[in-house]
């Protein structure tokens, strides 16, 4: 009878899902690096890899949802957990959208835009990786029963994540300024590049939301 009391904890699958989602985001860097050196023939390859990782994330997501009956009593709110899962999943989805647009339109970055955009992408990926580390603390949180010491540790990680995200806001604004300065030269392509930069910035946004939601989950 005691055996049937224990359900599979969703913490590890949630961490696996985050790993897959952030892996999608990380693939955006080589994509933009090739766009910066006008190597369009490799865009499809990057897109295929991101698609693959996104499917993996989807698989884990469906598995988590399927194993989360309402009668489970968990160390955190079910709703908080599902929202974190959604934000994580959006990271993978947005990375997929970026790759799709870049590949379909065979986009390249004008030389002047290369460095500002790559700086943005790098910082965004740092935000995602940092959010992954926050999610990586979930099992430690459960292990310490969400003790004040461990909670404070995670809270400070989230504060750092917020800092990184606000860096990406500035970097994306700088990239967009550069883009608009080139508008006459690029023409209608401006719209699509603007969209790509916006989506890249969104990645950091969702990473931040993962962190903020984790903070709420601690403060139940």
């Amino acid at each position: 009878m005691l055996g049937s009391l224990f359900a599979r904890s969703p913490v590890r699958p949630l961490q696996e899902h985050m790993r897959a989602a952030v892996a999608c985001a990380k693939q955006v860097l080589p994509l933009f690096e090739d766009m910066a050196v006008q190597r369009t023939e490799r865009l499809a390859e990057h897109r295929a890899r991101i698609d693959e990782l996104e499917h993996e994330a989807d698989r884990i997501k469906n598995e988590i949802r399927g194993h989360l009956p309402k009668r489970l009593f968990m160390a955190f709110e079910r709703r908080d957990m599902l929202e974190i899962l959604d934000f994580q999943d959006t990271i993978a989805d947005v990375a997929q959208d970026i790759a799709e647009l870049a590949d379909l339109r065979q986009m390249v970055l004008p030389p002047a835009l290369g460095e500002p955009v790559l700086a943005l992408v790098r910082r965004v990926i740092q935000a995602c990786e940092h959010a992954e580390r926050v999610i990586g603390e979930l099992d430690e949180l459960v292990e310490t029963g969400f003790g004040p010491h461990e909670s404070a540790r995670v809270e400070s990680m989230v504060a750092e994540l917020n800092q990184i995200e606000s860096d990406t806001d500035e970097l994306s604004e700088a990239a967009k300024r550069t883009l608009f300065a080139l508008e006459a030269e690029i023409g209608v392509g401006t719209v699509f590049l603007y969209q790509l930069i916006d989506w890249v910035a969104d990645l950091a946004d969702f990473a931040e939301r993962v962190g903020n939601r984790t903070r709420l989950l601690i403060a139940r």
Binding site: S4, L5, F6, A7, R8, R71, L72, F73, A75, F76
Partner: protein
Amino acid sequence: MGEALDAVLFGAPPILWLAGALALFMAWTIGANDVANAMGTSVGSGALTIRRAIIVAAVLEFGGAFFVGGHVTETVRKGILAPEAVALHMADLPYGMLGALAAAAVLLFGATRFGLPVSTTHSIVGAIVGYGAVAMGLDAIEWGKISQIIGSWLTSPLIGGVLAFLIFNFTRWLILDREDPEARVRRFGPLFYFVVTGVIGLVTLFKGLKNLSLDFALPQALGLSAGVGVLGAGLGAVLLSRVTANGPVPGDRFHQVERSFVLLQILTACAVAFAHGSNDVANAIGPLAAVIHSVSEVGYTKQAAVEPWMLLVGGAGIVLGLATWGYRVMETVGRKITELTPSRGFAAELAAALTIVLASRLGIPVSTTHILVGSVLGVGLARGIGALDLRIIGTIVVSWVATLPIAAILSILFFYLFRGLLAA
């Protein structure tokens, strides 16, 4: 050895042999099924091999049954049925108790076959009440005692849960939620060894050793158990210092901490085994004692009529069940509850053991498994466990509602059957 044993050994009527066989079978069932809940957690977390778990459980179950098992046995023997009513129907009592044993044994055997969780305690209490109400009338039931027992079936898991909640929060504050949890578990581990061995020492030494003709007053018992506790703490310190340092596992800061908690969990699993023996031996031996006493005309109400040799038989039966069948159940339970990591197992088991031992000393028959479930939920409420499946609460309620009437009806049938067959 007393007059009752003489009655059994010399010219025992067949009913005594039958009662003895059924009591042994009950004890066997208890050993085969229930003990797994005490030790399965340690097997599951890799703290003990099955072989060692069996040996350790055998020693402690037996110790609990022999030294502390008398109180609850007295309750089952003569606390449920009113003496005045039994005096009027003295001739029927052996058949009734025999019927109760047979009913509980059949129910447990059937339930085990179909994988239903049924509590031995609930079966035997339901069976005795069923026979008593039908054979002697509703007035024959000690309703005050029954409501106390049934009340304890609600409160004991609750107490276990609250204790587990507090113990886990204390552990979190003292050890887990610190910069250096590993060093702290080694430093404070012996403290827990002191408490647990001291408590076991106290319940054994204080009025427990009457079976060995040693009777300590409270002050003496307290002093001696403090000594036992110090010995326990020393042992704990030695064991904890031996935990091999494999070095940290990347991404898992608490790996070493849990490895150290393994030693604390072995300790608490032992405490649960001891507590379980002290409470559950009564389910087999209480009715047997009643049969023997009514047949040998020692009398129903005589004080301290549960003799050491009866507890010996019960303890032996439990150990037998453990050795012949318990390992299989233990393996299954162990595989299923790997989610209960050593630190959680420690908190839940310590709380459960304290609750059960307390109930044993008060002579109240409780369900070990239900208290363990309550304790695990307590740790869950302290946010210590990833996910718990609350369906088990429903299972417990259903098994509650079903066990009592089924046991009662079966025992009524067996009562008439045995009286028809055996009464001259």
